[in-house]
Structure formats: structure tokens, C-alpha cells
Symmetry: C2
Subunit: 129 residues, 2 copies
DNA sequence: ATGGGTGCAAAGTGTTTGCAAGTAT
DNA sequence: ATACTTGCAAACACTTTGCACCCAT
């Protein structure tokens, strides 16, 4: 069975995600890490983001254009600005009972659900005028 | 100002989406339409799917791998099987008041929200055994 | 020493786009 | 006649992968 090694690159990727509170994309993580280690490659960053996501150390948010990553372990929801692409955590509690209800109604086994609110962030509302 | 024309291709794309109840991807729509008109191109299908989405005649569901389309006009939620990729409508009513609440709390102007339940469909649960 | 990990570059996907020709209005 | 649409192919953006070398264990 495969065992995980601790590499400098993996640690840098994890640190970069931790340091952000704005849900960086893989490319933003790459650029951040690249500023410290100018040898690291995109492939390595992607591989490590996937690895860390699978092991549950970070979470991945699927939004248009590019997936985002976040160092937060509990299930929660997000707000997406459809103009500038900003992503932030939504102040809405997670209702586990919805998962159970949905499972009962549909026969699916539900692992979780995620809600994305789409709209315009305060900045982008102003810039429309 | 730009006005819409009725082309055979656009109608075929809309019909193909209507004919499906399984949330086809752009490529599935392309293949369906292609079976009728073997000249239509992927570009045309994508352009028309985007056009019809913008005008609100169909709706687009953002899921991993490829966006899905559906001929259903009211806001609603979805179930995604993370194994086989199947998408189906979730029996969960849409709560407009959540949008208002979120807008008030965050300063975003919310257009809508969408919840995706992730899990395994009945078929995929069985095939795991 | 082993075999997981890395850097690099090439390949993959899904989607968009520039352009000349075609066609709905 | 006008200008919206199409087909085609090339271009795109994001992500994955094959391979030889490297290094944590």
C-alpha cells in the first residue's frame, strides 16, 4: 500500500492554501508557492492539491473557470460573484438533516451537499453604475 | 440592437435538450443533433446552448467534467452521482427567502442559489459490492 | 535501496473564437 | 440587402500525465 512522504513542495502547497482566506485557484497557489520555490512546477502543485483534497486536509470548491481551494474542514456553503469571480464563505449553517431527507426520498446515498449563491459582490454592484 | 433568428440548428438544439430528462452535456446534445443533421458543428451547438441559456429558455448546471443542460425554467436543485456522473432533479423546494437573507447578511445582490447533493445513485451503490 | 515525488513538456478535455460563406429577415 | 449564423479549424484555459531523474524513508 501506498504511503505518503513529506516533501518540501507538499508542505509549501498546504501552507499557501492555509495562508489564503479568499479561496485561491490552483494557479494562484502555484504563483504563491513559486514565489518561495522558483523550481516547483504546475504539475506538482496540481498533484498535491488533489492529494490534499482526497485526504481531507483541504477542500475543493467547484466553480466556473477554475476550481478553488480552501483550508477549512467542515461542510459549508459559498457565495460567488458572477462578475469578478470572487468566492467567499456563506453565513448559512449546514443542515445534515437535508442529506438524510434527500437520501430517503431518492434512494441515493448522500455524502454531502453544497449550496452556491450567485450574485454580485458589493464592489461589482457599484462598478455597474 | 441584435435580434434573434430562427435557424434549423437552433431549433434542433432546443429540441434535443427538451427530449432529454437526464441533463445532457453539450457533447451529448451535439451527438443527438448530429444524428439528425450530420453537418452541424460543435461550435454551433455550444453557441446555441449558451444563447438559449442566456435567454432563459434552458438552464445550465455546473458540475465537474462538463456542464449539463436542462429544459426546465424554475430554479431548483440537483443530485449528482459522484461515481457515474448522473444528474437528476432534487425533490427540494426553492427557498427564495434564503436569497434575501444572504443578501442582507453579506451585501451581495443575490440572483439565485443552487444546491448540489453529492452521493451515489442506487445503481452505483450496488455495483460497489 | 526502494518506490513515492518532482520537473518538464506534451497531451487531454471541454469550450470558445476568427473567418469566410451561408441564410433568415 | 443586411447582419445574424454557420462550419471549420485553430486557439484557449485548466488540468492531467508519461518519463527520467531525485530524494524521503
Amino acid at each position: 500500500m501506498k504511503q505518503r512522504r513529506n516533501t518540501k513542495q507538499r508542505q509549501l502547497v498546504l501552507d499557501a492554501v492555509k495562508a489564503h482566506n479568499d479561496h485561491p485557484s490552483a494557479d494562484q497557489v502555484y504563483l504563491d508557492v513559486r514565489a518561495i520555490d522558483n523550481k516547483i512546477s504546475r504539475g506538482t502543485v496540481y498533484r498535491n492539491l488533489n492529494l490534499l483534497t482526497q485526504s481531507g486536509e483541504i477542500c475543493q470548491i467547484k466553480v466556473p473557470d477554475a476550481d478553488r481551494f480552501e483550508y477549512r474542514l467542515d461542510f459549508h456553503h459559498h457565495l460567488l460573484c458572477t462578475k469578478c469571480g470572487a468566492v467567499c464563505d456563506a453565513p448559512l449553517s449546514y443542515h445534515t438533516e437535508l442529506d438524510q431527507e434527500m437520501a430517503k426520498k431518492t434512494g441515493y446515498s448522500i455524502k454531502r451537499h453544497q449550496t452556491v449563491f450567485e450574485g454580485l459582490c458589493p464592489n461589482c454592484q457599484h462598478s455597474l453604475k
